[in-house]
């Protein structure tokens, strides 16, 4: 079933939406983005809740004239996820364990019912690559909005996406050939 998606994040919101309506509308978007980013559903759930807690505290700072609520929430989600990664990194260093934590196993619907080959290919990408795919493809954010979330230029964002997709294509095709 196809989900209805916005074509682009337009800055056409003049009235101020309520937090509850924004949370209801964009919960799946934020959660999906975090699943792609962290490659772990459980972690993504916790981070999603944390994102909305943070969003509630900073709700008065949100200005609809500067961007859509979805972009703003994705920015917050990214910050929350990066804090999580840093904390995990510090913890692993303290414990002397340099091995990465075991992610959710691809192929069990981690990425929302994709083909097993595509799931494996996605899981093999780096977090940065998955993140740009989640923003540009899954959430269908335009170049400006995605670049704002990532904190990079539009050109860099496009380049990152192209590389990620190319890598995905190569892995999938290698998998299929194997």
């Amino acid at each position: 079933m196809l989900r209805r998606r916005r074509i682009s994040d337009v800055h056409a919101v003049a009235e101020v939406p309520s937090f509850a309506s924004v949370a209801e509308r964009h919960l799946d978007d934020v959660h999906g983005y975090l699943v792609y980013f962290t490659r772990d559903r459980d972690v993504a759930e916790d981070l999603t809740a944390e994102t909305f807690e943070k969003a509630l505290k900073q709700w008065r700072r949100f200005d609809p004239r500067r961007g859509s609520a979805r972009t703003w929430l994705c920015q917050l989600a990214r910050t929350v996820a990066l804090d999580h990664f840093r904390a995990e990194d510090r913890r692993r260093r303290r414990e002397g364990a340099y091995a990465a934590a075991e992610p959710g196993q691809p192929g069990d619907g981690l990425f929302g019912g994709l083909s097993p080959e595509l799931e494996r290919a996605l899981a093999a990408l780096s977090a940065g690559e998955r993140e740009v795919i989640a923003l540009r493809v899954l959430l269908d954010l335009d170049g400006d909005a995605a670049a704002r979330v990532l904190g990079i230029s539009v050109t860099s964002c496009s380049t990152r996406l192209s590389r990620a997709l190319k890598k995905l294509e190569e892995r999938m095709n290698a998998d299929v050939a194997a």
Partner: protein, 349 residues
């Protein structure tokens, strides 16, 4: 399965759906329920806009403050310099007899020095002296030099006593008599000497401390006499004639005391300010008579010097604070770079 291209991969990703679990949805709904229903967001100005507002505001405040202070003090300066009566002496006036007896006996009654170069005639600190100096300068531009003398006098909180302009057929001249606070006279003379070539210079210092001390002793004696007479008048056994005689004596003593006090105060005022006679000469035939500035001009003058002082403070703060600021910026920059590197490393896994 056939290989997929990029478009097909994207289409497949878009068609997928990741939904939040019911528990997560409930958790977020509970959170949202605590939020106000329609809280208007606060419009925050970015720091760049703040700086666009703050910098001109600070400049405007500095300017307004300097104008206000300049306006307020310009008239005060004028009153203070015009009326030598209000001026406070700087270390010469009333000296107690005990402290200055030895100095009084040892000091010469008058001292006159003549110097042709840079001698300013050092006055003795702590003594009452009548200080008079005459300075003859050759200047290139008489009008400018005259204005400078007047400005310098005001800057030392002095005042102009008289200005005379000569219009000889051969050359022009200006004779200016100014009064400058005794504590600043030496600095003023040094600066005046720099306005042109010194042709002649005289300094006259008359030590009037003995007069001060003598009068002080007399006043003290009279005060004692007054106290003694008052004590005598309280005696109940006095006859009418005796009482009358004592009262007459008391009145006379008081009158004499007041006379001495007035004379002492007059001398004090005279010794508070030094008289400097500046004779400017040039080959200019005519001289533009500088007009004594009005209050607005004086206020602007003063505001200008206050603004300059404010600028000096800002420059000083910048000079002292610049290395610290740079360190802070470098520290902040290096933290950001480190953070970015960590982020890149984490995102590449």
């Amino acid at each position: 399965m056939s290989p997929l291209n990029s478009e097909e991969i994207q289409a497949q990703i878009r068609s997928s759906s990741i939904t939040a679990s019911p528990e997560l949805r409930a958790r977020v709904r509970e959170l949202a329920a605590a939020a106000p229903s329609a809280a208007p967001p606060r419009r925050e100005l970015p720091w760049r806009r703040w700086s666009l507002v703050l910098v001109p505001a600070c400049l405007a405040v500095a300017l307004a403050a300097s104008l206000a202070v300049g306006l307020a003090t310009s008239d005060k300066d004028r009153q203070r310099s015009a009326a030598a009566d209000e001026a406070k002496p700087t270390g010469t006036v009333f000296s107690t007899e005990a402290a200055h007896d030895a100095a009084t006996l040892a000091a010469p009654p008058a001292a006159k020095t003549v110097g042709g170069a840079a001698g300013t005639g050092l006055r003795q600190q702590g003594r009452a002296q009548l200080y008079q100096s005459e300075l003859t300068l050759k200047v290139k531009d008489l009008s400018t030099a005259t204005k400078r003398v007047l400005r310098l006098t005001r800057s030392f909180n002095g005042y102009v006593k008289s200005v005379e302009y000569g219009s000889g057929s051969e050359r022009g001249s200006a004779y200016i008599v100014v009064r400058v606070p005794i504590g600043s006279v030496q600095a003023a003379l040094v600066k005046l000497s720099g306005f042109g070539t010194i042709l002649d210079q005289h300094v006259s210092i008359q030590d009037v401390q003995p007069q001060f001390d003598k009068r002080f002793r007399e006043m003290q004696g009279l005060r004692d006499q007054v106290a003694k007479l008052q004590a005598q008048l309280t005696a109940p056994t006095l006859s009418t004639d005796q009482r009358k005689a004592l009262e007459d004596e008391l009145v006379a003593a008081r009158r004499q005391l007041i006379t001495l006090q007035v004379a002492q105060a007059r001398l004090q005022k005279q010794t508070s300010f030094a008289t400097v006679e500046v004779d400017l000469r040039s080959s200019d035939k005519a001289v533009i008579v500088p007009v004594e500035p009005n209050r607005i001009q004086r206020a602007l003058d003063r505001s200008g010097s206050i603004l300059l002082d404010e600028l000096k403070v800002v420059v000083y703060v910048l000079i002292v604070g610049a290395p610290l600021l740079m360190l802070a910026v470098l520290g902040f920059g290096s933290l950001r770079v480190r953070r970015r590197r960590t982020e890149t490393r984490l995102l590449s896994t």
